[in-house]
């Protein structure tokens, strides 16, 4: 059993881990940069060690300092939280070498899922649906056309070396494919010095749906429901909810089965999330990637399943078997999480660090706040802008939205700009209330 956990993280997730440890009688060590000396996790942990100056590269990403801190505090485990070193296979490996339990999957699983091409190949081999398309580069237009016929139009031609939307061309039918193929090649050659392209089925305004899984060291893998994370701005999730209202029960069960298959394919242990794109039109879903860590939005799942994920993550890391099986999982009600960021929605979500002069938290039934903030806290400019997670639970989605609006109205943060007003607007918009919106919704909404 784990006795003492060093938390290689900061902010709300550090506090989340401390809370779980305290409730299990596990001692905690907070490591912190000089910028986080006055932070709540440092106060609430049993011990704390300063590991470096403000920049993350010299503190929260400084592996040697963190391992040393674990050694001098005699910690027997390290919890990486999310971000920073959470998906660093080398760090997980080094922990193992130093005889410190890395609280997460083993280095192989992290590495496997970290390389997107490898992950996709493994998933295909395991029978997990992936976006149909060419297995590799389409050397000729004829190749591209064959692939497009196989997976059906519309398709997207993408630069193999690509990114950031460059060398990417949509084709609605065979006629458009030729120019799309040629344009994409030209752009790819120009932008990346490499003209190779591949072809994939194009999913229009999909839902981002992910399945939370947990696996123990005895091969038990359980799916703990899905989360709809389609409310995104520039690929950043802003709001997550569970369940996803557009999934029918059959598709939902298929998705859970696929997620479990994905986890088993890499001998996964610990908590993890398998992300899918889901097309409401075709009811098809496709593997995107697997996040090999606890996620920001895990409380949404905790609220609907009644399972303390952070706590179970610690149990599994201690070598315990899962205390439940798939058939024991009951979901009740609806949960929504709003990520409150220190950003100004009026100014293009520009970060707004600084001193919180007023901090008044909402409360009452169905309201949970996970936050490391307090009145007088100075948000340092060095890290992530998320300052609080507002998590709402209610019997139905409609009641959940109303409760969320009530709680947002009660939430007062002054001294800095936050995304609170943004959520008040989004939650009252018709597309959100219908619940059918896809990942493209927010960009349109923000333009309006």
């Amino acid at each position: 059993m784990i006795r003492k956990v060093l938390i290689a993280n900061r902010g709300e997730v550090a506090l989340r881990i401390i809370r779980a440890c305290k409730e299990q009688g596990i001692r905690t060590v907070a490591v912190y940069s000089e910028a986080d000396e006055d932070s709540v996790p440092v106060k609430f942990a049993d011990e704390h060690v300063c590991i470096g100056p403000a920049p993350a590269s010299q503190s929260y990403l400084n592996i040697q300092q963190i391992i040393s801190a674990a050694e001098i505090t005699d910690s027997d485990a390290i919890h990486p939280g999310y971000g920073f070193l959470a998906e660093n296979a080398g760090f997980a490996e080094l922990c193992a070498k130093c005889n410190i339990k890395f609280i997460g999957p083993d280095a192989n699983a992290i590495r496997h899922m970290g390389d997107k091409a490898t992950a996709k190949q493994t998933m295909r081999a395991a029978g997990v649906p992936c976006i149909p398309g060419s297995d590799g580069v389409c050397e000729t237009l004829a190749d591209a056309a064959t692939v497009a016929d196989e997976c059906g139009y519309p398709v997207i031609v993408k630069a193999s070396a690509g990114g950031g939307g460059k060398g990417m061309r949509l084709a609605q039918d065979r006629a458009e494919l030729e120019s799309a193929y040629n344009m994409a090649r030209m752009e790819a050659q120009k932008a990346f010095g490499d003209g190779s392209v591949y072809v994939e089925k194009y999913v229009l305004n999909p839902k981002h749906v992910e399945v939370q899984i947990i696996a123990d060291q005895f091969g038990n893998v359980v799916a703990l429901g899905e989360r709809d994370c389609s409310l995104q701005r520039r690929h950043q999730k802003l709001l997550e909810e569970s369940p996803c209202v557009v999934l029918d029960e059959e598709t939902r069960q298929k998705m859970y089965a696929a997620a479990i298959k994905a986890a088993k394919a890499v001998n996964y242990t610990s908590v993890g999330t398998v992300e899918f794109l889901y097309s409401s039109q075709t009811k098809e879903f496709y593997f995107m990637e697997m996040n090999t860590r606890i996620q920001v939005e895990h409380p949404v799942t905790e609220e609907v399943t009644g399972i303390d994920l952070m706590s179970e993550m610690l149990h599994v890391a201690s070598g315990l078997a899962l205390p439940f099986r798939q058939e024991d999982i009951k979901q009740s009600g609806h949960a929504i999480e709003c990520r409150i960021n220190a950003e100004d929605p009026e100014r293009g979500f520009c970060p707004s660090p600084g001193k919180i002069t007023t901090y008044y938290m909402p409360g009452g039934i169905g309201v949970r706040v996970d936050s490391h903030c307090y009145q007088g806290y100075v948000i340092p400019p060095y890290y992530d802008s998320m300052i609080a997670k507002l998590i709402i639970h209610a019997p139905t989605r409609k009641e959940c939205v109303r409760r969320a609006l009530r709680a947002l109205d009660e939430f007062y943060i002054e001294g800095i700009a936050t995304t609170l007003p943004f959520y008040r607007n989004v939650l009252m918009s018709k597309p959100f209330l219908r619940g059918t919106f896809g990942t493209g919704f927010l960009e349109e909404f923000l333009v309006d």
Binding site: K43, I51, S68, Q375
Partner: protein, 182 residues
């Protein structure tokens, strides 16, 4: 590292305590006793200016500027008293004595987290002792981190005044290890 047991609370003067009659009375008395002609105090959006009765307007005023030090924070004393523990307390103390005694007393701080060793092996004498002169290249101690012993150099010239950490003690990043003076 610093277990949570004993804490030094950097207790902050609440703004209201400054803005009370008693506080101002004390300031007046102090001004009177000390023949201060004028006080001009400003912090954040607070400003107090006091001019003695016989003070000449043009005469160079004895201005007392109170330290900024973030100590007038209105925040929760519970939460703002967060950090300082063993090491920070030491640090606070030393910086204070530093400020009071001589401006040329400086600190050699830990450049990494690890375990402090003042001597190369248990049966030999220390790298440096109070009174020793050091140059930037002088090895002053070892810090063991991840099974490696790292030689820590003085990085400055001067005379060791005090060794602040005991052998075998874990040290945090930037924790003061030695006091040194010119």
């Amino acid at each position: 590292m610093a277990k949570k047991s004993e804490k030094v609370t950097v207790d902050e003067k609440n703004l209201s305590s400054l803005l009370s009659v008693d506080a101002i009375k004390s300031i007046f008395e102090l001004m009177n006793q000390n023949e201060i002609g004028e006080l001009d105090l400003e912090h954040g959006d607070v400003r107090i200016k006091i001019v003695g009765k016989n003070q000449q307007p043009a005469a160079a005023p004895a201005t007392v500027l109170l330290p900024q030090a973030g100590s007038l924070s209105l925040t929760s004393s519970a939460l703002s008293s967060v950090a300082p523990a063993d090491s920070s307390a030491t640090e606070a103390k030393t910086s204070a004595s530093e400020a009071k005694s001589a401006p040329n007393v400086r600190l050699i701080r830990a450049p990494m987290v690890g375990t402090f060793y003042g001597r190369p092996s248990p049966d030999v004498s220390a790298f440096v002792a109070p009174g020793d002169e050091v140059t930037p290249e002088t090895v002053v101690c070892l810090i063991e981190a991840m099974k490696l012993f790292n030689e820590i150099k003085a990085e400055t010239t001067g005379k060791i005044v005090k060794v602040l950490v005991k052998d075998g003690t874990p040290v945090e990043f930037h924790q003061p290890l030695f006091e040194i003076e010119d």
